[in-house]
Amino acid sequence: MPTVAVDVMGGEHGPDAVVHGVAAVSLQSDIDCLLVGDEARIQKILDSTAYNPERIAILHAAEAIDASEEPRSAVRYKRKASLFVALREVAAGRCAAVVSAGNAAAAIGASLRELTLLPGVRTAAMASVYPRAAEHAGQDPLALALDVGATVRCTADELVHFAVMGSTYARVISRVAEPRVALLNMGRDPLQGDAVLSAAHRRLRDRRGLNFVGNIEGHELTSGRADVVVCEGLLGNIVLKLLESVATMAVDLTAAAAPRSWRLRAGMAIMATGSDGLRALADYSSYGGAPLLGFEQVFIKAHGRSQAPAIGNAVKVAAKAARDGLIPALKAALADD
């Protein structure tokens, strides 16, 4: 089983959540992990939990990049940070994949410095998974959106690369035989949007080996119509954060709107299970993370608010991506250009 390098110091819940997540994985699977961060602190956390030391190695990193740090400055000056050290382990081939829940912008910047872009790829794409309604039994309850922040604006070529990479990821990791790929736009008409979107639509439609289902509008995102949604980073990031806030917003608005009547309070209590379910469904801190695609190395970015189970899932996804040959599959798919 390949070794997964884990940036321990990233994430809002700090080393505790990351180390506990990896400790759980060490007991449940045969995945080897390299924990990168403050060695003494990592060992102290490990001591307080059940773990399998045979599956865990530690590599000391003298610095850490904080979630609130200015990314450009961090990438420029903090080369000894756990994120950089973990990336270098992967770049050198000592580890097969890297997982980080840290500062997303710094993760992208550091990856561009330390990792190698796939042949033909000009820019990487940050993917994210989000919950959606399943149209049929067995359909993955999560869809993949990319790019959600590695770029601001992109070219039609880049959007096509994102589509190919997203589709390959869904096929290899989510085991979707023919992932349905859609382009996020303001209408279904192929000519809607700007010149970039029109050109991207045309190229995606003509692309062999891609199950392109056309444009998708914002209100269709949570339907089961598309498995992979392609968009520019600026738009993707805004959409993703809006989606993240929907469940909390719905619950909060309902609570605020309820008059002080015992009947309505009783009604809300009955609805509580449903609203908790809604909140759980949209709880991004429990998802396993999503890939930063476009590099010759596997990088799984866990959500900044990831708790231990989400980190554990991210590590499993990273190991699966390495084991199941995501990178060779991406290279093959991109070579069809």
Binding site: S48, P53, E54, A57, L59, H60
Partner: protein, 346 residues
């Protein structure tokens, strides 16, 4: 004239320490008496370690004893002895818990009672050893081995007085006759204690089979070493000079060849026990070299910077610290235990 080396005594628990017994299910418990010797499975590396301990002592012309103490009934003794024979283990005695006899006497509590039984058996066994004998105890984290072994170590060292022991056992609801017996045995040990010269129990190794978080056993002090596998135990015993480097290599080799361990797991296990301060970096370096020569470690050299950081941060391993009496009161829940020196004894 130089004094002869003290006798080395190794006391092993059986289930979950030597054998991978299935004690966590009724099915597993029922199965144990009917298992054939060849069906019983030893923990990875344990047989190689015990063989190595005897060979290492004998090669230096030392005096060594290996005993097993089990809470299993004597009815499975034949299968256990045969299993040990199959594993090439030469031992000096096995004590079983006579559960049926206790049942016939109507002492149902004894079936569950571990602390009183094991402690009295250990204290009885100590009477047969020279006062200078140096002991290593091996147990697991399933029942009360850490507590029993620590109590025993402090009694034979004269740190825990018989009256205090009896009080603790009463608080722990140990069967009264066993308390009386343990008190009398502790009295005899206290009279024979060779306190000024040696620490009778050098180390207690607890096999983290469940696995319990190591920090949960910190209250027992640095004398108690929680280990995740027998490579870690072997490494500590190598540092104690109880095990030769060749024997430690044999343990690692048995893990690789018989239990499917990979070189990375060997390296990680060694690094973990160093980080937990139970093994010094100097001993670890010697072992890494020996394992590397035997092809049991990854071929790539360790990252030099990481190695330097570890060496720089290293504190002396815990065994060098003088043992202090663990806070048994809070462990067992008794209001008061007299500190050594507060009560006179002969």
């Amino acid at each position: 004239m130089t004094e002869p080396a003290p006798r080395l005594v190794y006391r092993w628990d059986l289930d979950k320490t030597y054998l991978l017994s299935e004690l966590d299910s009724l099915r597993g418990l029922v199965k144990i008496p009917f298992e054939r010797p060849e069906d019983k499975v030893a923990a990875p590396g344990v047989a190689a370690l015990i063989r190595g301990l005897r060979e290492s002592a004998l090669s230096r012309g030392g005096d060594v004893r290996i005993y097993f103490l089990s809470a299993s009934p004597p009815q499975i003794g034949r299968a256990i002895r045969r299993k040990l024979e199959l594993d090439g283990i030469v031992h000096d005695g096995i004590v079983f818990k006579d559960q049926l006899q206790r049942l016939f006497r109507g002492k149902f509590r004894h079936l569950r009672e571990q602390v009183g039984y094991k402690l009295t058996e250990l204290l009885k066994a100590r009477q047969a050893e020279p006062v200078t004998a140096r002991e290593y105890l091996f147990g697991d984290d399933w029942e009360s081995d850490p507590l029993i072994y620590s109590l025993y170590a402090d009694v034979v060292a004269g740190r825990l007085l018989p009256a205090a022991l009896e009080e603790l056992l009463r608080a722990g609801r140990v069967d009264p006759p066993l308390i009386t017996e343990a008190g009398a045995l502790a009295e005899a040990c206290a009279r024979a204690a060779d306190r000024p010269r040696t620490e009778p129990v050098a180390r207690i190794f607890i096999n983290l089979e469940r696995p319990t978080p190591p920090a949960a056993l910190r209250a027992f002090g640095a004398r108690l070493v929680p280990t995740f596998n027998y490579l870690q135990t072997a490494a500590c015993l190598f540092e104690e000079e109880a095990l030769s480097a060749a024997a430690a290599v044999a343990v690692a080799r048995s893990l690789v060849e018989e239990s499917g361990y990979r070189a990375g797991q060997i390296a990680n296990s060694l690094a973990d026990i160093v980080r937990r301060d139970h093994l010094g970096e100097a001993a670890a370096a010697v072992l890494r070299l020996a394992f590397g020569r035997a092809g049991l470690l990854p071929t790539a050299p360790p990252r030099w910077r990481d190695r330097l950081v570890r060496r720089w941060r290293r504190t002396p391993p815990g065994a060098a610290e003088a043992p202090v009496l663990p806070d048994y009161r809070s462990m067992i829940g008794t209001p008061e235990v007299e500190a050594p020196g507060s009560t006179q004894h002969d």
